[in-house]
Symmetry: C2
Subunit: 451 residues, 2 copies
């Protein structure tokens, strides 16, 4: 979709097995629901060393589902189906998959007993409509669902194994991880793809490419595995991810995790000071973890972001250990009353200015008694801009009692993007401060939880 500096010929050879997904549900086609299930399945396929090659999304219509299942089963080895296992009359997936396989649907008394037991545990009467959730295509194998009423199933269709999951994301994810992946591991010779992700803020995609590509080009000469490595970039405003994947070439060569990790020594200095971490964990998570480890506490003073920076930090489990709280000072009066920003400063420089950002950071630190604090003031738009201070002008300051650093940004994008970018930049400045003090390291972290 977006321009990427390097083509990806090697990806095509990664998976000897062809994996496809089929998402079922009117709400996915009417635009009422975003298909995040397909995104998750793509991520899991990649983690397992497989490549999801095709996703079809169809409505809750037997004929449309049958056609999609048959077309996919003719092309692929593994088909991951989700949606349409509920109790209502528009849940037609079981019947349609059976029809695609040319088999009958049978009521399974044991499955019905399990279902009745679930309703008893939920202290609810089982409606007649739910009986259909105990129907299984002949020859199919049940896939347990401990967190919902809809069990899934597996069914062989010629050379293709079809796994059918509920559409509720939480149930689908759990069934993929706990039921389907172990079955895939037994069935296929999986060679999980090694991946190393560098996370950057403050350096553009083309600038980082200029620094990274000579290093990767030199590395490619060192081993056949490194030669096959796939390098790509992903811009996630305002962040950039640099991704190295140990894809497999036609001869089966792929970089090892150790080979990729060894590139840190050259890549991390080359990407400094933009790089803040390695791995999937995001910036708020890393800031919270670094603060926890350092035993430091943070306070936030926000104007144009309206509390978003504090909320993004508070979204990280365990944030209460290091987040004091903050002040959302949308109006100048609040900046004065709660943050002690001098009225003269506001009058002379305006609310969106370096001195006010500094005074906000210092004021909230003093007021809340924290170790560190940041202040954000800016113009998120769409209104409020001027020639001197156009929409996207943001001032951020970070104070630790010894010194207050400051950054002026000219951000692009709509109101939401400006607010999100400003919040992440404030976290980056906090991270930099911790890093400069030896209290945070650029190191691998995975997310704290799956969801």
């Amino acid at each position: 979709m977006a321009a990427r500096p390097e083509p990806s010929p090697s990806v095509a050879q990664t998976g000897a097995h062809v994996i496809e997904a089929l998402s079922i549900g009117d709400e996915l086609l009417s635009g009422d629901t975003v298909n995040t299930n397909a995104t998750f399945l793509g991520q899991r396929a990649r983690a397992l060393g497989l490549v999801l090659q095709h996703v079809a999304t169809v409505r809750d219509r037997v004929g449309e589902i049958v056609a999609a299942v048959r077309a996919a089963a003719a092309r692929c080895d593994v088909l991951l189906v989700s949606g349409g296992l509920g109790p209502t009359t528009d849940d037609l997936t079981t019947r349609a998959v059976a029809e695609a396989g040319g088999v009958e649907v049978e009521l399974d008394p044991e499955a019905l007993a399990r279902l009745a037991d679930k309703f008893r545990r939920f202290a609810r009467a089982m409606p007649e409509a739910n009986h259909k959730q105990a129907e299984l295509p002949k020859g199919g194998e049940w896939l347990p669902n401990p967190i919902g009423t809809a069990e899934g199933f597996a069914l062989e269709l010629g050379r293709c194994v079809v796994f059918v999951m509920p559409g509720v994301p939480r149930e689908m994810r759990s069934m993929m991880l706990e039921q389907i992946e172990p079955r895939l591991a037994r069935r296929l010779a999986l060679t999980p793809t090694v991946r190393r992700v560098y996370r950057l803020l403050g350096i553009g995609e083309s600038a980082v490419a200029e620094r990274v590509e000579p290093i990767v080009a030199a590395a490619r000469t060192r081993s056949p595995g490194l030669a096959a490595t796939f390098l790509h970039y992903r811009a996630a405003m305002p962040e950039v991810l640099v991704i190295l994947e140990g894809t497999r070439d036609e001869a089966g060569n792929a970089a090892t995790a150790e080979e990729l990790a060894a590139l840190d020594a050259e890549l991390v200095p080359a990407m400094a000071p933009g790089v803040y971490g390695i791995g999937e964990a995001d910036l708020p998570t890393r800031v919270v973890l670094a603060l926890q480890r350092a035993g430091k506490r943070l306070a936030c003073a926000e104007s144009c972001t309206g509390g978003l920076a504090a909320a993004m930090l508070a979204a990280v489990p365990g944030a209460s250990e290091c987040l004091e709280g903050g002040v959302v000072a949308y109006q100048n009066r609040i900046k004065q009353a709660l943050l002690g920003v001098d009225a003269a400063l506001l009058a002379e420089h305006g609310a969106v200015s370096e001195p006010v950002a500094r005074a906000m950071a210092e004021g909230v630190r003093r007021s809340l008694g924290s170790d560190l604090a940041f202040g954000i003031t800016g113009i998120a738009g769409p209104g409020g801009g001027s020639a001197e201070k156009p929409v996207g002008t943001v001032h951020i300051a970070v104070a630790d009692g010894e010194r207050t650093s400051h950054l002026r940004l000219q951000l692009r994008g709509d109101r939401g993007i400006v607010q999100r970018s400003a919040a992440l930049w404030a976290m980056k400045l906090v991270w930099d401060r911790l890093h400069d003090a030896g209290l945070a390291a650029i190191e691998p972290h995975e997310p704290l939880a799956l969801e």
Copy 2:
């Protein structure tokens, strides 16, 4: 996907024209990017009175794109393609669509001149690689793209017209709205679907169904158009949407906008006090609009939501006119210092309690000098729960100087869902207070902006 109380047989008849979409890009299948383009196209199709019947997602491989275009063109009247129009070697869509149509690709000197002009305006040198963006399948028609380098195109493939758009969401959306929809309107006899959406918070899907369905059933007897109306529900934790769609039956009958609007008189009282609005605009937008109209100003005191409620309000353009700001009082010390919550109250009842929520709302109102204020305190999880106050326990209070109302909630879901639900509940209480005072009405509102 989710259970819906009513099947949707009538939807199948809505579109005499079959519309499909094809999303192209490795990043959509690797799980790096969520396919929101397909969601947008589904929404636009529905708004135009068309039904998107199938979405395929394929990688940047000529063979896979050609197969997907041919399969879709054999099934549908309109194919909406997005992605793969960039300048890099993995942007292969133009070539593949031409191959699917059995035509050559030709360099268009006029398109090349337009492209060169864009680069001049961006003050950048045009790389050689971009020349391919001036290539058009023979017989195709260019679709202008004033905000990016990638022009789109339309190409007839038998009975199917294929529209090809860039994958960058902003450019895709603009091309769909400004270039493709007018062409569809000229080509097809469009009869936009009338739709009425009721927005609720505080009433479950099955409870609302019990109240709504007798009213809709009675209405169906009044006209053939109303008889064909499609009623469905969408749970968007913690909100529920009740959606009436003027779908068309086989004889061409469909409800008019006036017929659906006339149902407000019965439906709105039946859904009270859960219903807060009609139309697509969300709760934060309605609260901001209601405050603006009423000339009232709001302050927020947040503990477990960490600033999320303030940030959701601040995301609405124009929020600065009615949002004073707020205090994120994660720690008890801050609740005392900045909100004036009594230490004895905290010691006696704990931070997550009715008295503390009340004191927070009253304290922030006093401290910030606002008309209205809310306080939120709770346990978002995953840690911090107890038998008496399990994870998901949330206390919310709203104060206006005359009285302070309070609500205790037991929310379900992970940390993010509990935080989001609590924030929305606080807004609902503010909305209710304005509504009770005659300062807000349950009325239609569309979103403030498209994005």
